[in-house]
């Protein structure tokens, strides 16, 4: 079980080697904050695969989005993607997980852990940010911010922004910058390649198993900045998808980058899930992002 505090990410310090971190599924994180009237930058709790029991010290409005879990608050069944009121002493209990890998718990006011380099996101590798730079454990107490929006209504429900993967997901890529090193039909729409996430898949990135990708010639590439969603091909030939806690730079060839609109669904994959890459155009990448934004703002 991994529970970390995440806000929208630690931006502005990648040139110092500081990773962005932040939510694996940014769309669900935003939806959770919307439901409790928080700014998009407010910190939520990212729950991975197995859910905790959280006890509320005070009356609190909260919402849970992302991976579909059976939930109970104060003994009563609780809906996902809804604004819920917990009374002092109530426990939010996560039960069985059905689809998706990561859920987001937002509370009105946001989780009030100290800002580190301008952000509340947790980077586990360097023990920066979030709750003492680490995942949460039993007994930890999370302070909640006092700035609460006035117009939040208990019982409000919104539809999920992102459909949770069921066993796996197709993910669209913008090819480049090193796709020229590979067979031009790789990841072309008519030649989808299906991979499986190995157990060595986590917030830093996903190690995949499937068809090996072999560059047409071996080249030493000089380290350069690596965006989230980069699909790298290390010497093994098995692709690596860089995710939230990735290092800021790297030198492996990159065949493509997952489009921003598909990062949330990619962030909902777990070891054992399949991932299928498909190349798309700039125009489609933008259209998909605009459509997703419309759903969130609706």
């Amino acid at each position: 079980m991994l529970l970390t505090v995440q806000d929208h990410g630690r931006w502005g310090y990648q040139r110092f080697g500081v990773p962005v971190s932040g939510p694996m599924d940014g769309a669900s994180h935003r939806l959770a904050n919307l439901l409790v009237g928080n700014r998009p930058s407010a910190a939520t709790l990212e729950v991975t695969l197995v859910g905790p029991e959280l006890e509320f010290d005070d009356d609190t409005l909260f919402a849970v989005t992302g991976a579909e879990f059976d939930l109970q608050t104060g003994g009563a069944a609780t809906a996902m993607n809804s604004t819920v009121r917990a009374r002092r002493g109530h426990r939010l209990v996560f039960g069985e997980r059905r689809h998706g890998a990561r859920a987001y718990v937002a509370v009105a006011g946001g989780f009030d852990v100290p800002l580190v380099l301008g952000s509340r996101a947790t980077h586990l590798g360097s023990r920066i940010g979030g709750f003492e730079g680490r995942g949460l454990k039993s007994g930890d107490r999370l302070p909640i911010g006092q700035e609460i929006a006035a117009n939040v209504r208990e019982g409000e429900t919104r539809s999920a922004t992102v459909a949770m993967p069921i066993g796996g997901s197709r993910v669209r890529l913008l090819l480049g910058p090193d796709n020229g090193l590979f067979d031009p039909t790789t990841f072309h729409t008519s030649q989808r390649a299906r991979y499986v996430l190995t157990t060595q898949s986590d917030r830093m990135g996903y190690r995949l198993r499937g068809e090996r990708l072999v560059p047409r010639r071996q080249t030493e590439l000089i380290s350069t900045a690596t965006p989230v969603g980069s699909v790298q091909v290390p010497p093994s030939g098995y692709p690596l998808v860089l995710m939230a806690d990735r290092q800021t730079s790297g030198g492996y060839p990159r065949i493509g980058t997952v489009i921003s609109a598909d990062l949330p669904v990619a962030g909902q994959l777990a070891p054992g899930d399949w991932i299928e890459f498909e190349s798309c155009s700039d125009r489609l990448a933008y259209a998909a992002l605009i459509a997703q934004e419309r759903t969130l703002m609706a």
Partner: protein, 230 residues
Amino acid sequence: MSWTLTRVGDSALVVAFEQRIDPTINARVVRVARAVQELHHDGVQDVVDSFCAVTVYFKPLHTDVESLARSLEEIAAGETVVREDGVESTPQRMVPVCYGGPHGPDLREVARFGGCSEADVVEHHVSRPYRVYMLGFLPGFAYMGSVHPRIAIPRRSTPRLRVPAGAVGIAGSQTGIYPVTAPGGWHLIGQTPLHTFTLDRADPFLLRSGDIVRFKPIGEEAFRRFVTEE
């Protein structure tokens, strides 16, 4: 000097120069990165310089990408009229290092690789200035170059699970200092008592791209004194 402007994914633009580890190219990269930061262009979230490129991250729905691309082209093109010898007169930053023994478990192997004595390895390491080409890998980790070819040992075939903070290492033509305890594959020749990254300081990062660094050997006693003084 030639350059290209490319999109990488839907949220990044990259100005790339000639793909070579070279101080003149890197000096240009550092100047371009600074100029891009100073644009404060709407929607830009991060400007990341590397050995030979500048990557500009932006929020796709909040950025006029055409305008950003044009500004980047102007900055990159403006650079080509600057004189070619880009090595700035930067003050040298001195980094004290306790070499060998428990602080440098791989010093002997580097000596074997170079066919010289451990003292020679240290001499090679301290007798030249290094350019900080970029920061990456870990917060505050500076990639510095270039190391004397005699001691330019490749990475270890098996990385260590735990490299202590302050460890000074070599990987090929690069030398670096571990800012925090982390796993790593560099050959470790010494340790510095300085913190290249700490949140306890107003400026957490000791080194920046474009800095010039020189190493200076210190003894065990001096190392301990440094550490206790903090």
